[in-house]
Symmetry: C2
Subunit: 342 residues, 2 copies
């Protein structure tokens, strides 16, 4: 680590025999400088190994070209996928992505969002709507354009690039019901701070109602995110409700856990019990049996989210509310109700 100070704009300017303004222009809007000068400046830049000081640049330009995103967890490939596409699109427009994760913890999420803003994020991508009024007020006050993803609600004014969680799950639940299942249970993430999970559970209830079943008798087991927790919750569920023929999980990870729980309990899927997921992560296909789930267009969502946020940033507009289509993936983990006539 050499201690001699790094070259500054002034050093470059001196070396190239121009003013600092010209060097700055060469770097930021090259077409405003005549070619000969530009060449000379660029040569000096290269020779000195000059790179702009981030803090100074941010201070003077009043923007950081940085977009922040807070996701529930990096451990779920589904978020990683979406973010990758998001990042690529941002990169194409000269912006950098800052990622933080909240471990599905509301207080931590709050903190991470504030940290990102404190770090100068020009705009934010958030997952779902659920967060405190104070936080939203803070964001509005600071004038940070914010886009919600993974959800899309008619009743929320805020810009969103997501999909309809309720409707997607409703469609899947219809398929389950069509196969004759009448004793359905739900394995869910904690509902209190997760509007996506709530929407999905609501979707099951709506489907139940459509089929003339009482929606409020749906057993819902809430458990933190994880394969292990899914396995444990599955076991608790079948113990408490032995007659259950189909377990609908609000995400694939939980469903994978349920699959393992079934295996450990000696239950055959789907002969003894059916299991469904949500997200369509890569391993859903690989599971034994392959998981019936709802496919979410992660990549497309990420890319479009980036575009919308970029537009909001550029034009200062409010952003729209877009619901992307999802797709039911019928696979081996869902079968007809046991004992049904074939």
């Amino acid at each position: 680590m050499s201690d001699h100070a790094l070259p500054t704009l002034a050093d470059v300017a001196q070396k190239a025999g121009v003013s600092t303004a010209t060097v700055s222009r060469c770097l930021n809007s090259p077409d405003r400088v005549v070619e000969e000068t530009r060449k000379r400046v660029m040569a000096a830049v290269r020779e000195l190994g000059y790179a702009p000081n981030f803090g100074a640049q941010a201070l003077a330009a009043k923007q950081t070209n940085t977009v922040g995103a807070v996701i529930p967890t990096m451990e779920n490939a589904v978020f990683a996928r979406g973010l990758q596409a998001f990042q690529q699109e941002l990169g194409r427009h000269g912006k950098t992505l800052l990622v933080a994760s909240s471990s599905y913890d509301a207080a931590l999420e709050d903190e991470q969002i504030r940290a990102l803003v404190a770090r100068g994020a020009d705009a934010l991508l958030l997952i779902g709507y659920d967060r405190s009024r104070e936080l939203y007020e803070f964001l509005d006050k600071r004038g940070v354009p914010t886009l919600v993803s993974w959800s899309c609600s008619e009743t929320e004014a805020r810009a969103a690039m997501g999909f309809d969680n309720r409707l997607s799950m409703l469609r899947l639940a219809r398929e389950v019901l069509k196969l004759g299942h009448r004793h359905i249970a739900c394995l869910s993430a904690p509902l209190s701070t997760n509007d996506r999970a709530r929407g999905r559970v609501q979707g099951i209830r709506n489907a139940l109602a459509e089929f003339g079943l009482p929606p409020n008798t749906l057993p819902v087991f809430e458990t933190p995110y994880g394969i292990d927790t899914g396995t444990a919750a599955f076991k608790a569920l079948v113990e408490k409700h032995p007659g259950t023929t189909a377990i609908m999980c609000v995400n694939d990870v939980l469903a994978l856990g349920a699959l393992r729980g079934a295996r450990e309990r000696g239950l055959s899927v789907p002969n003894d019990i059916s299991v469904t997921g949500f997200d369509d992560i890569e391993i859903a296909l690989l599971a034994e049996p392959p998981l019936t789930t709802v496919h979410v267009p992660h990549r497309d969502m990420g890319q479009r989210a980036a575009r919308m946020l970029l537009d909001m940033l550029r034009d200062g507009t409010k952003g729209a509310r877009v619901a992307l289509p999802t797709e039911i993936m019928m696979r081996g983990s869902l079968g007809p109700v046991p004992g049904a006539p074939r």
Copy 2:
């Protein structure tokens, strides 16, 4: 989005009837200010909703309290895990983590590292050693403390918090050989820019040599990261080397792909062919059959990496070279060679 400018230090100072220096001290070293003044200042801070301007702070303090990390991919839970622990430890010391991913692309990694430095990262966490001399020179010139993780080589001077890839794989390969396998093949990530994969392959070769087998006849199939690619490579491999009884993969994701390839080919694991992985990601346990693999202490590694980097940053020291122990996880995907006496 309100347009009225955000409050500055000067606003707070005026409101509290003190100088900006005092406000700054209240925020950064509260014990240097008498309690009464401090209370008054803090009240003003709260009332105004003041938050420091990142750029200005970075410019004046010449540090950003930000640490950058570049990982190959966010889609592998193994990196996510390690990073989470890394981030937590940093957070405890008031630092923020900036993450970027390179998609296992050397040029992109180079770019991301420079972007992170340009964004003012005070220190860096990198995965593995393999990168250009220019990049390392750049880092040294800028004086950015850098810590390598996931690898730990005797021959590299640079600070590292990792484990011995070669030795770990060597140990696993011994187990494979002990079970009678003599026709082993290797499914690897591209080796040219991945010292971890190279070390692991080398480990297999070393084990072969120990058992008196010619190390250079080991078939090594290189394929990009992914479950799908693992499946395809598996098929290509068994076609070209039908006599293979054990396939050792350099990571779990590839191994999962191999498992699927085996299933699609109608091969029973481990009866017809054995498969091993590396990393011990959560799904390794869930695979059918559960994957024999090498457990890497992700969380511990992440946490200790953070501590070391923090020390380097604080004391300006060079950092040490630490190799953490790994553990062989014997599970169902590895069995005795087919036709062996039981």
